[in-house]
């Protein structure tokens, strides 16, 4: 079956998932982002690559960080941006996803940035739109959040340039996490030799090891000698029930504290996709500590999103 993300020449047509993208394309995005990172630090933070184009942020599920960074990224590329919180309008009136999309196409949208609570929603839209329209997945259910995965490896590359020599641990609710899936695909595709996941069995999906990760249930073992610790958010509704008994117990066993972080390499960096639950998955002293690169992640998110939009629009500047 054809990869729905690539056109017949193997160029990126949509960004739906990291899985299935060749290393070459991932590097192209990361390198392009590198060139945009400069733009965001200039006095006039704009380039005209997307002038006259309309980017439509279609959020069927709420988001602050992701939506805002996509908005900023599009604006820095000089695009016109429309942001719709569809969850609160058309959907509640019974309109289907594709009806909403069709209406926006009729208004001449050129690019869709889509977030939806169901896995596969961005694929559905990508299959539906005419060839000149591009779709970027900004998170679909538990499936994928490719720009987050990319900004995470971008951040890692900044601090630890030699990806072929790293040991990385992803900690927490892998089962429900599209971020974890995207990170795993990005890291394994780019040649990180050892990716670990650390979580209780209730928060790991079936046969997760087939994604190319080493499975740990004990933080003390899993964090030993790692270069990067990537924490995952624990949703409120999972904190007590059949998945976990309580937030307190989770913090004791899987929360990242200074003490546990000390097991990692001394220069290890700590990451989190946000929003954080301080005192649940991560202790404040770690989140705000000197090993944390959580805020740089957000900053780099803009450059990554600019790069993806520029490449899709055919202007992958170097």
């Amino acid at each position: 079956m054809n990869n729905p993300q690539l056109d017949t020449d193997g160029h990126l047509r949509h960004l739906l998932s990291i899985e299935g993208l060749p290393k070459k394309i991932l590097n192209q995005i990361l390198d392009t982002a590198e060139s945009f990172a400069g733009v965001t630090e200039r006095e006039i933070k704009k380039v005209p690559l997307l002038r006259g184009k309309t980017v439509c942020n279609l959020f069927f599920e709420n988001s602050t960080r992701t939506r805002t960074t996509f908005e900023i990224a599009a604006k820095r590329l000089s695009a016109d941006v429309i942001s719709l919180n569809v969850g609160t309008s058309s959907q509640s009136k019974g309109e289907t996803i594709l009806d909403t999309v069709d209406n926006l196409i009729a208004m001449h949208a050129d690019m869709f940035v889509v977030r939806h609570a169901q896995s596969g929603a961005a694929h559905l839209i990508a299959k539906h739109v005419p060839p000149h329209i591009h779709v970027i997945n900004a998170g679909d259910g538990r499936h994928s959040h490719p720009t987050q995965g990319l900004l995470d490896v971008f951040t890692i590359r900044k601090y630890k340039p030699d990806l072929h020599n790293l040991r990385i641990a992803i900690v927490g609710d892998v089962l429900h996490s599209r971020v974890a899936r995207s990170e795993i695909h990005a890291l394994t595709t780019l040649g990180v030799p050892e990716v670990r996941v650390i979580a209780p069995k209730t928060l790991l999906p079936a046969q997760v090891e087939k994604m190319g990760v080493h499975v740990y249930h004990d933080m003390n073992e899993g964090l030993k000698d790692v270069d990067v610790v990537m924490m995952l958010r624990l949703q409120n509704e999972r904190m007590s029930g059949a998945m976990l008994p309580s937030a307190q117990e989770y913090f004791k066993t899987y929360g990242l504290t200074q003490e546990k972080l000390a097991l990692a390499k001394p220069d290890a960096i700590v990451m989190h996709p946000g929003p954080m639950n301080r005192g649940v998955e991560i202790d404040s002293s770690v989140a705000d500590g000197k090993q944390s690169v959580i805020l740089p992640q957000v900053t780099y998110g803009i450059a990554i999103r600019m790069a993806v939009m520029a490449i899709l629009a055919g202007g992958g500047v170097q």
Binding site: I97, S119, A206
Partner: protein, 424 residues
């Protein structure tokens, strides 16, 4: 009307016929096979050279969507689809709207189906009212109205007390219960096999254990109550082993597999193909191999189409929200022929899974070319390949994972009670 079917290769597993013979039909019945009866003058002769002549197919599970869901399919379209697929008898599960739990509804359905004069429709009544798994439906009354067995469709009876009573009650009258084995708590909100594909795609999984757990309860209670139980649409290797053991123990249990599960695995979901959102979910290669092995050694008795037509809009949604099911009436024959070819299974044996065996399970007079029985006959070319074009299917449901496949086994004629009801 007298019909002479000439030069066909007649296959009738029940009567051990597998050779080139002529068939003579009069007054809707099979008058003779082989020799022309004295003075037989045909009104019509069908040249069946190069064709297989077998009993019309019998399908254990075909949703016709009437009453209540006519926007998905109608009797007229689905019964046309059935005979286009060579199916002349079918059982329909009770999950219509309203549920087939009242005799009046069953009588109406039988009556309306009969008016079409196409495939014979054998309703399965609900085991429990509204399929809620709480109070028993009026099985005896439903039987009198025309139900040939009782089913919960895709619903489970969670309360083992109710399951036990349902089996005791059914056993009292010798009724067969058609049950789908899936433990509902473990399967809750699941949409795909709980394995590597669901993990990659971020879909909520249904573990194989959900089938094993439900089977364990059903088989144990069947053993206690002596009820006749048919397991609909087995999907796992473990399930096959459990049925094998139950049969060895002497339980009155039979089971079927959907033809979809003989061809597809979880990997066919690919990039969220909603046509692969099925119940039970598509499982692993190992499970698929075990299902074929189960048919070969007699553990699994029959193959069904699990025909579930869905309107287009209901499939255009993210995978988990897309409605469950695949259209199947017109694909049961070619997919079974294809499977038999791949697995080196003699055609006669393969046909028994879709004729004689399911007829036996339903205890209906169908599935063979027995003399003096209704002339329900299918004539097909086993070697002609044809390309599945969903848009061209007669069924109102165009939802199939097999769109674009080239399959062998092209149906040419279907006869019901000696009338040609389909000709390609």
């Amino acid at each position: 009307m007298k019909i002479h079917i000439k030069n066909g290769h007649v296959i009738d597993p029940k009567n051990n016929i597998d050779s080139k013979l002529d068939i003579f039909i009069a007054a809707g019945k099979i008058l003779s096979i082989g020799q022309a009866p004295d003075g037989f003058i045909a009104n019509q002769t069908i040249d069946a050279s190069n064709l297989i002549v077998c009993s019309g197919l019998v399908d254990l599970s075909a949703r016709l969507r009437e009453p209540g869901e006519e926007y998905k399919a109608r009797l007229a379209s689905e019964l046309q689809a059935a005979v286009a697929g060579g199916i002349t008898s079918l059982a329909c599960p009770p999950d219509t709207d309203p549920v087939l739990d009242e005799p009046g509804l069953v009588e109406m359905l039988k009556h309306r189906a009969k008016q079409h004069g196409l495939a014979h429709v054998y309703p399965l009544g609900a085991v429990t009212r509204q399929l809620q798994g709480k109070a028993l439906a009026e099985m005896s009354e439903l039987y009198a109205a025309g139900c040939v067995g009782f089913s919960q469709a895709n619903e489970a009876i969670t309360d083992t007390q109710v399951l036990w009573r349902a089996m005791e009650y059914a056993a009292t009258f010798g009724f067969t219960l058609f049950l789908h084995a899936e433990e509902p708590f473990l399967a809750a909100n699941g949409v795909a096999h709980d394995g590597e594909v669901a993990t990659r795609l971020g879909l909520k999984g249904i573990p194989s254990a959900a089938e094993a757990l439900a089977l364990a309860s059903i088989l144990r209670i069947a053993q206690e109550t002596g009820a006749k139980v048919h397991i609909s649409r087995l999907s796992t290797a473990e399930g096959v082993n459990m049925i094998r053991a139950a049969k060895a123990q002497g339980l009155k249990v039979s089971c079927d597999v959907s033809v979809n599960h003989l061809h597809l695995t979880e990997h066919d979901i690919a990039y969220f193909d909603a046509n692969c959102h099925l119940k039970p979910p598509l499982r692993t290669q190992r499970d698929k191999d075990a299902l074929t092995a189960g048919l070969k050694d007699g553990t699994i008795d029959a193959i069904c189409s699990d025909h579930t037509p869905v309107d287009d809009d209901a499939k255009i949604a993210p995978f988990a929200e897309a409605e469950i099911g695949a259209t199947g009436l017109e694909l049961l024959l070619p997919l079974t022929v294809k499977w038999a070819q791949q697995e080196n299974i003699p055609l006669a044996r393969a046909l028994s899974f879709i004729t004689h065996a399911p007829a036996n399970i339903l205890a209906v007079p169908a599935g063979s070319l027995t003399l003096d029985s209704d002339a329900d006959i299918c004539l097909f070319d086993a070697n002609e390949y044809w390309k599945i074009d969903a848009a061209q299917l007669k069924s109102q449901g165009k939802n199939t994972p097999f769109n674009g496949f080239e399959l062998p086994g092209k149906n040419k004629y279907t006869l019901v009670r000696g009338q040609i009801v389909y000709q390609s």
